[in-house]
Symmetry: C2
Subunit: 418 residues, 2 copies
C-alpha cells in the first residue's frame, strides 16, 4: 500500500501515537499497569459529580438531550457556548472579546493542527515560515502536527538550579532564533511536559517580541487559568489581538468529549471555524453542552480554583516527597512543579537513554514517556534530550508511589551499570 507524502508523514510512528496507544491500552487493560505516561486527568469525585448532575439536568430539561445529540452545530460550535466563554473572560479579565473571538474544536490538539498548518509551511509568495518554540522541552503533541517538514525553530533553555535536586527552565532570550522566517511564537503555559510556568516577565518579553515582528503569540493554556487552573504560581493570564489563547475542557475532567477552545482575533477564529467545516463539518456538541451552565455562571472558575487546583497541588507535594525518597543517592533533578500534573525528571550523565529506560520500566509494568519526544524541532545533538522522562502523578496514590519506587530502582540500577 502506497501513501502520499502526507500519508507517509502522518502514519510514521510518532511519539504521540506511542503515548496515546500506551494510554488507551492501559485504560482498557487489566489494571496491573501503572500508567504514569499519559495526560489523563484524575477522576476527582466532586468534579465528576458536578458533570453527572449536569447531564441529569439536561435529561430533565425537555428535549435538551435530544437537541444535543441530534443536531449538527455550526462550524464554530454551539453559539451559546461561545458567548458564555467570551462573557466569562471579558468579565473576569476585562478582555475585549465577543463570541466572534471564540472557536471550538474537537480538542486542543485539533486546534494546534489547524493553527500550525495555517501559519507554518509554504506561503502563497513561495516563502517558507516556521513556528518558534522559545523553550524546549515542549509538548509532544506538537512534534508531528506539521504537514510541511520541519515547521519548528526551537530554542534550548537556560537552567536555574533551585536546590541540589530541583531546577527550573527559563527562556534563553539571547539565543532565540527569530527573524522574518518565523510566523508565530508558541509556548505551553503551564508547560507540558515540565510543569514549568513561564513568568509574567517572560510572557511580556515574548509578547513584545511577537508584536515587534507582527506575528501571533500562541499560548497553550490547556492547564492554565481560568480553567482548569492547574497552576501553582501567581501569574496573570493575558490576551490581546496578537495572542492566540488555546483552552481545553480535557483537564477539567472531560478528555473523552474532546473540546478545545481558541480565543483569537476574529480573523483567526473565523479561519479555525472554516477549517472545522472542511475537516469535520462541526465540532462535537457534548462538551459544550456539559460545560455551558458552569461557563455562564462562572462556576467553572470556582470548580477549578477550589476543587481542581488544590487537588493537583497536594498530589504534586506528596509525590515530590516520594521522588526524593526513591531517588536520593542519584544525581537526579526534578523540574520545579509549578503547574500541570507532570514531573519532569532529569538524570544527569545518565548511562542509558531515556528510550531504554522507557522499555525497562514498561517491562516492570510502569509506563512513563521518554523525554526525547519533547524536543520538537531541536535537531542538534544534546545529551539532555535523552536524560529525561515525563511522568504524571494523577493515578491513585498507592500506584503513583509504587511507580516512583520502581523508577527509583531502575535509575539506581542504570547508574550502577556505568
Amino acid at each position: 500500500m502506497q501513501f502520499t507524502r502526507f500519508g507517509e508523514k502522518f502514519t510514521a510512528y510518532s511519539g504521540i501515537l506511542q503515548l496515546m496507544d500506551d494510554l488507551g491500552n492501559a485504560v482498557a487493560g487489566s489494571g496491573d499497569i501503572i500508567m504514569l505516561g499519559g495526560g489523563n486527568p484524575s477522576h476527582i469525585a466532586q468534579v465528576q459529580n458536578i458533570f453527572r448532575k449536569r447531564i441529569e439536568q439536561i435529561l430533565a430539561n425537555g428535549n435538551e438531550f435530544e437537541r444535543l445529540i441530534g443536531n449538527y452545530g455550526p462550524p464554530q460550535g454551539p453559539p451559546a457556548f461561545a458567548e458564555a466563554v467570551a462573557t466569562l473572560l471579558q468579565q473576569t479579565y476585562g478582555w475585549h472579546i465577543s463570541s466572534e473571538n471564540v472557536a471550538i474544536t474537537n480538542g486542543s490538539q485539533t486546534a494546534f493542527f489547524y493553527l500550525f498548518n495555517m501559519l507554518a509551511g509554504e506561503y502563497p509568495d513561495g516563502t517558507t515560515k516556521r513556528i518558534l518554540l522559545p523553550l524546549a522541552p515542549e509538548y509532544i503533541g506538537y512534534a508531528d502536527a506539521g504537514i510541511a517538514e520541519d515547521i519548528f525553530a526551537t530554542n534550548k533553555p537556560q537552567f536555574e538550579y533551585l536546590d541540589e535536586h530541583t531546577f527550573k527552565y527559563h527562556v534563553d532570550f539571547e539565543s532565540l532564533p527569530i527573524d522574518e522566517s518565523i510566523s508565530a511564537i508558541c509556548v505551553s503555559r503551564p508547560t507540558n511536559p515540565t510543569g514549568n510556568v513561564l513568568t509574567d516577565h517572560e510572557i511580556e518579553k515574548l509578547r513584545h517580541l511577537a508584536r515587534s515582528y507582527g506575528i501571533p503569540l500562541i499560548i497553550d493554556n490547556a492547564y492554565g487559568a481560568p480553567f482548569p487552573s492547574i497552576i501553582f504560581e501567581k501569574v496573570t493570564p493575558v490576551w490581546d489581538e496578537n495572542i492566540i489563547l488555546c483552552l481545553s475542557l480535557s483537564k477539567l475532567g472531560l478528555p473523552g468529549v474532546r473540546t478545545g477552545i481558541v480565543i483569537a482575533r476574529k480573523e483567526i477564529a473565523a479561519a479555525v471555524n472554516s477549517m472545522n467545516a472542511v475537516v469535520s463539518l462541526a465540532p462535537s456538541s457534548i462538551g459544550a453542552g456539559l460545560a455551558l451552565d458552569m461557563m455562564r455562571t462562572g462556576e467553572i472558575m470556582e470548580i477549578s480554583r477550589q476543587l481542581i487546583q488544590p487537588y493537583y497541588e497536594k498530589r504534586a507535594e506528596q509525590a515530590e516527597d516520594w521522588v526524593w525518597e526513591a531517588l536520593t543517592g542519584t544525581p537526579f533533578f526534578l523540574h520545579k512543579p509549578e503547574g500541570a500534573f507532570f514531573f519532569w525528571l532529569w538524570f544527569k550523565d545518565f548511562p542509558i537513554s531515556s528510550a531504554e529506560l522507557y522499555d525497562r520500566l514498561k517491562q516492570r509494568g510502569v509506563l512513563v514517556v521518554p523525554g526525547h519526544y519533547f524536543f520538537p524541532g531541536l535537531h542538534e545533538e544534546w545529551e539532555h534530550k535523552t536524560e529525561c522522562i515525563r511522568m504524571n502523578y494523577t493515578p491513585e496514590e498507592g500506584k503513583v508511589r509504587q511507580g516512583i519506587r520502581i523508577i527509583g530502582e531502575e535509575i539506581k540500577r542504570a547508574y550502577a551499570e556505568k
Copy 2:
C-alpha cells in the same frame, strides 16, 4: 493576516462552510426559517427515546458515565466498540474482519479528510495522484477536503429518464477518466445529494476496475446498510480488502456526537488511527458509548430497518407528491429517491443559476443547497451544474410542504422571466 497556502485554501469560502453555517444558524435561529438545506436527520421520537434510555443506563451503571467523559480513548477509539462493529458486520455479512479493520473518527467528514489526503496529492516518488469520482453529482463535503490542489478526476453521469419528471443517474463507464494517475475510486451510496443508489452491477464493475488498477474503492455508506439503512432499494452491501467502507452514526440520529467508522484493510485502519493521534489525540468516546450496546446486540439493525428506514421512505413518498403538486407545469425533473433523505431537483434550461435561486429562496425563508457545489473536480462548463438544487425532506411535515410550495412559486417565477 497572512496564512500559508494550506491556510488560504482551507479558509477560502467553501460550499460546506456555507452549508454548515446555514444549518447551524437555522437550528439556533428563530424557527421562522424553513431549513431544507442541511443534512440534519429528523428527530424520530422512538429512536431518540432509545438513546435517552441508553444514557440513563450508563448513568445507572456504576461509574460508566465518569469513564466515558473522564478518559481519553486510544487513537482507534474505544476497543470494545471497534470489536462490536467488527462482530456485527462479520455475523451479518460474513465479512472476514476483526477490530483491527475498524477505525473510529470524529465524524465521517474527518475520515474523508484523512483518506483523501493519504491517497491523493504528491507521492514520495514525485508523482501526483487523484481520486476518481465516477459519478458527479457527488457529496459537497469532498470538494474542499484536499490539501493538494485539484485532487479529483470527475466523471459526468449518464441519464436514464423514468417518466416525464423522474430521472436517474448512472455511471458512464465509457468515459471514466481512469489511468495510473488515479489512486482510489470514491462513491457515496446512497448518494448525497441525489438519493441515487448505485446498482449492484455498477458497484461490481467499479470493484473490478479498482482491483485491476490495484487501488482502493472508497464507499461512503453514511446513509446505507446495515445502519442507518436509509435506502429504499434492494442492494447488497459489499466489503473486501480492497474496499474502504465509511459508516457514520450521524444519520442514526447522533450528528452532535461526531462519530465516523472506517472499515478497511488493517494497514489503512492503522493509518487512520495514526492520523487520529496526530490530529486529535483520540476520537470522542461519547458516540461509541451511546451506540455500544445496540451494536453488540444487533439492535442497531432493527432500529435502522424498523424505525429509521420506513420513516424516511414514507417522508420521501409524501414529499414527492408535494413536489409534483408544486412544480407541475414546469420542466422539472426529480432524481428517483432511492435512499438518503434528499431530493435532487433539476430545472431543465433554467433561466437563472442555482446560486441565484438559492438567494431568492433564502430571502423567502427557505434554505436549500445550490447544486453547483456538488460537482467537485468537474471543471468543464456544463449547464446542468447550475440547474439543480438539493433539498432535504427531514423537517416537520408542514414546513417541508410549505417550503416545497415556495420553491414551486420561485421556479415558476424564474421560468416566466425567460
